[in-house]
Protein backbone atom coordinates (compact mmCIF):
# COMPACT_ATOMS: atom_id res chain seq x y z
CA UNK A 1 0.00 0.00 0.00
CA UNK A 2 1.29 3.46 -0.87
CA UNK A 3 1.51 5.89 2.00
CA UNK A 4 2.05 8.89 -0.31
CA UNK A 5 -1.64 9.97 -0.58
CA UNK A 6 -1.81 9.99 3.22
CA UNK A 7 1.45 11.91 3.59
CA UNK A 8 0.00 14.64 1.36
CA UNK A 9 -2.61 15.25 4.07
CA UNK A 10 0.00 15.82 6.78
CA UNK A 11 0.53 19.52 7.34
CA UNK A 12 4.11 19.27 8.60
CA UNK A 13 4.96 17.74 5.20
CA UNK A 14 3.12 20.46 3.27
CA UNK A 15 5.21 21.71 0.34
CA UNK A 16 7.24 18.53 -0.22
CA UNK A 17 7.32 17.17 -3.76
CA UNK A 18 6.27 13.64 -4.68
CA UNK A 19 9.90 12.46 -4.74
CA UNK A 20 10.58 14.11 -1.38
CA UNK A 21 7.49 12.45 0.10
CA UNK A 22 8.79 9.11 -1.19
CA UNK A 23 11.95 9.63 0.85
CA UNK A 24 9.80 10.29 3.93
CA UNK A 25 7.70 7.20 3.14
CA UNK A 26 10.84 5.06 3.19
CA UNK A 27 11.28 5.94 6.86
CA UNK A 28 7.82 4.82 7.90
CA UNK A 29 6.97 1.34 9.15
CA UNK A 30 3.49 0.01 9.75
CA UNK A 31 2.15 -1.11 13.12
CA UNK A 32 -1.27 -2.50 13.97
CA UNK A 33 -3.05 -2.03 17.29
CA UNK A 34 -6.31 -3.22 18.80
CA UNK A 35 -8.83 -1.45 21.00
CA UNK A 36 -7.36 -0.80 24.44
CA UNK A 37 -3.74 -1.05 23.35
CA UNK A 38 -1.58 1.66 24.85
CA UNK A 39 0.63 3.27 22.19
CA UNK A 40 2.49 5.47 24.63
CA UNK A 41 1.95 6.84 28.09
CA UNK A 42 2.15 10.45 29.28
CA UNK A 43 5.69 11.25 30.48
CA UNK A 44 7.21 8.32 28.56
CA UNK A 45 10.41 9.16 26.73
CA UNK A 46 9.56 9.98 23.12
CA UNK A 47 11.35 9.13 19.92
CA UNK A 48 8.64 8.42 17.35
CA UNK A 49 5.93 10.21 15.41
CA UNK A 50 2.72 8.40 14.37
CA UNK A 51 0.38 8.78 11.41
CA UNK A 52 -3.03 7.08 11.40
CA UNK A 53 -3.73 5.00 8.26
CA UNK A 54 -6.99 3.50 9.54
CA UNK A 55 -8.82 3.38 12.85
CA UNK A 56 -8.94 5.69 15.84
CA UNK A 57 -6.65 6.79 18.63
CA UNK A 58 -7.70 8.54 21.82
CA UNK A 59 -5.44 11.14 23.40
CA UNK A 60 -5.76 11.41 27.17
CA UNK A 61 -4.25 13.47 29.97
CA UNK A 62 -3.67 12.44 33.55
CA UNK A 63 -5.76 14.43 36.00
CA UNK A 64 -4.92 15.13 39.65
CA UNK A 65 -7.05 12.26 40.99
CA UNK A 66 -4.64 9.28 40.93
CA UNK A 67 -5.24 6.67 38.31
CA UNK A 68 -7.70 8.70 36.30
CA UNK A 69 -7.39 10.07 32.79
CA UNK A 70 -9.32 12.72 30.89
CA UNK A 71 -10.10 12.08 27.26
CA UNK A 72 -9.00 15.09 25.22
CA UNK A 73 -9.62 14.19 21.62
CA UNK A 74 -10.09 11.26 19.29
CA UNK A 75 -7.93 11.20 16.18
CA UNK A 76 -8.66 9.39 12.92
CA UNK A 77 -7.27 8.69 9.47
CA UNK A 78 -4.65 11.09 8.22
CA UNK A 79 -3.90 12.65 11.59
CA UNK A 80 -0.49 12.64 13.21
CA UNK A 81 0.39 12.55 16.87
CA UNK A 82 3.59 12.44 18.88
CA UNK A 83 5.22 14.82 16.42
CA UNK A 84 6.97 16.81 19.14
CA UNK A 85 9.26 13.79 19.50
CA UNK A 86 10.84 14.82 16.20
CA UNK A 87 12.20 17.91 17.90
CA UNK A 88 13.17 17.30 21.46
CA UNK A 89 12.82 13.68 22.63
CA UNK A 90 11.12 15.11 25.71
CA UNK A 91 8.49 13.31 27.77
CA UNK A 92 5.16 12.62 26.09
CA UNK A 93 2.70 15.42 26.81
CA UNK A 94 -0.25 13.01 26.80
CA UNK A 95 -1.10 9.34 26.51
CA UNK A 96 -2.27 7.70 23.28
CA UNK A 97 -4.51 4.63 23.31
CA UNK A 98 -6.01 2.74 20.41
CA UNK A 99 -9.82 2.59 20.55
CA UNK A 100 -10.58 0.52 17.44
CA UNK A 101 -9.50 -3.00 16.55
CA UNK A 102 -7.15 -3.22 13.61
CA UNK A 103 -6.00 0.39 13.83
CA UNK A 104 -3.05 0.79 11.48
CA UNK A 105 -0.39 3.37 12.15
CA UNK A 106 2.71 4.49 10.31
CA UNK A 107 5.60 5.14 12.63
CA UNK A 108 8.61 7.32 11.90
CA UNK A 109 11.63 7.26 14.18
CA UNK A 110 13.19 10.58 15.17
CA UNK A 111 16.76 9.54 14.42
CA UNK A 112 15.83 8.43 10.88
CA UNK A 113 13.83 11.61 10.30
CA UNK A 114 16.60 13.91 11.49
CA UNK A 115 19.10 11.98 9.40
CA UNK A 116 16.94 12.52 6.29
CA UNK A 117 16.61 16.23 7.09
CA UNK A 118 20.38 16.53 7.38
CA UNK A 119 21.04 14.61 4.17
CA UNK A 120 18.42 16.48 2.18
CA UNK A 121 18.44 19.96 3.62
CA UNK A 122 15.60 21.15 1.36
CA UNK A 123 13.35 18.55 3.00
CA UNK A 124 14.78 19.55 6.37
CA UNK A 125 14.05 23.23 5.80
CA UNK A 126 10.45 22.65 4.66
CA UNK A 127 9.64 20.21 7.45
CA UNK A 128 11.23 22.30 10.20
CA UNK A 129 9.48 25.45 8.90
CA UNK A 130 6.17 23.56 9.04
CA UNK A 131 6.88 22.22 12.52
CA UNK A 132 7.70 25.76 13.69
CA UNK A 133 4.36 26.97 12.26
CA UNK A 134 2.62 24.04 13.95
CA UNK A 135 4.17 24.98 17.30
CA UNK A 136 3.11 28.61 16.82
CA UNK A 137 -0.44 27.40 16.15
CA UNK A 138 -0.38 25.35 19.36
CA UNK A 139 0.96 28.31 21.33
CA UNK A 140 -1.92 30.41 20.06
CA UNK A 141 -4.31 27.72 21.31
CA UNK A 142 -2.71 27.88 24.75
CA UNK A 143 -2.91 31.68 24.76
CA UNK A 144 -6.57 31.63 23.74
CA UNK A 145 -7.36 28.98 26.36
CA UNK A 146 -5.78 31.15 29.06
CA UNK A 147 -7.88 34.13 27.97
CA UNK A 148 -11.07 32.12 28.16
CA UNK A 149 -12.92 32.78 31.44
CA UNK A 150 -12.69 29.72 33.67
Amino acid sequence: MSIIPLLKKVDILNGLSESQLEKVAELCREQTYNAGDLIFRENDKSSEMYLIQDGHVEITLNVPKPGTEKSIVTLGKGQIFGEMALLDEGPRAASARCIADGTRLWVADRADFISLCEKDTRIGFIVMKNIAADLAFKLRLINLTRKEPG
Binding site: D11, V73, G78, A133, F137, K138, E148
Partner: protein, 65 residues
Amino acid sequence: MIYKVSFVVQGGGHPGAIQNMEKRPKEGDRVKLGDKFYEIVEVLEIIPSRGEFSYLHATCRPVEK
Protein backbone atom coordinates in the same frame (compact mmCIF):
# COMPACT_ATOMS: atom_id res chain seq x y z
CA MET B 1 -8.85 21.75 1.82
CA ILE B 2 -7.98 20.33 5.22
CA TYR B 3 -9.05 22.42 8.19
CA LYS B 4 -6.75 22.21 11.17
CA VAL B 5 -8.88 23.46 14.03
CA SER B 6 -7.83 24.34 17.54
CA PHE B 7 -10.76 24.07 19.90
CA VAL B 8 -10.94 26.29 22.97
CA VAL B 9 -13.61 25.29 25.47
CA GLN B 10 -15.36 27.90 27.59
CA GLY B 11 -15.51 27.28 31.30
CA GLY B 12 -12.17 25.58 31.77
CA GLY B 13 -13.56 22.05 31.78
CA HIS B 14 -11.39 20.97 28.87
CA PRO B 15 -7.79 21.90 28.07
CA GLY B 16 -8.52 22.34 24.36
CA ALA B 17 -7.55 20.20 21.43
CA ILE B 18 -6.43 20.33 17.82
CA GLN B 19 -8.20 18.25 15.20
CA ASN B 20 -8.12 17.99 11.42
CA MET B 21 -11.48 18.34 9.69
CA GLU B 22 -12.48 17.92 6.06
CA LYS B 23 -15.38 20.37 6.36
CA ARG B 24 -15.04 23.92 7.60
CA PRO B 25 -16.65 24.14 11.07
CA LYS B 26 -19.23 26.84 11.68
CA GLU B 27 -21.13 28.35 14.57
CA GLY B 28 -23.75 25.96 15.93
CA ASP B 29 -21.92 22.80 14.86
CA ARG B 30 -21.42 20.13 17.49
CA VAL B 31 -18.06 18.47 17.93
CA LYS B 32 -16.93 15.59 20.09
CA LEU B 33 -13.76 16.22 22.04
CA GLY B 34 -12.78 13.18 24.03
CA ASP B 35 -15.97 11.68 25.39
CA LYS B 36 -18.10 14.85 25.48
CA PHE B 37 -19.94 17.00 22.96
CA TYR B 38 -19.44 20.73 22.58
CA GLU B 39 -21.18 23.40 20.54
CA ILE B 40 -19.11 25.81 18.47
CA VAL B 41 -19.92 29.44 19.29
CA GLU B 42 -17.23 31.21 17.25
CA VAL B 43 -14.78 30.36 14.46
CA LEU B 44 -11.79 32.58 13.70
CA GLU B 45 -9.17 32.40 10.98
CA ILE B 46 -6.20 33.96 12.73
CA ILE B 47 -3.40 32.85 10.45
CA PRO B 48 -3.55 32.57 6.64
CA SER B 49 -3.99 29.27 4.84
CA ARG B 50 -0.88 27.47 3.60
CA GLY B 51 -1.19 25.16 0.63
CA GLU B 52 -4.07 22.79 1.17
CA PHE B 53 -4.29 23.61 4.88
CA SER B 54 -6.49 26.14 6.60
CA TYR B 55 -5.87 27.02 10.25
CA LEU B 56 -8.85 27.91 12.41
CA HIS B 57 -9.61 28.54 16.05
CA ALA B 58 -13.04 27.52 17.30
CA THR B 59 -14.48 28.50 20.66
CA CYS B 60 -16.92 25.95 22.09
CA ARG B 61 -19.19 25.53 25.04
CA PRO B 62 -20.34 22.29 26.66
CA VAL B 63 -23.61 20.95 25.31
CA GLU B 64 -26.18 21.04 28.08
CA LYS B 65 -27.77 17.68 28.89
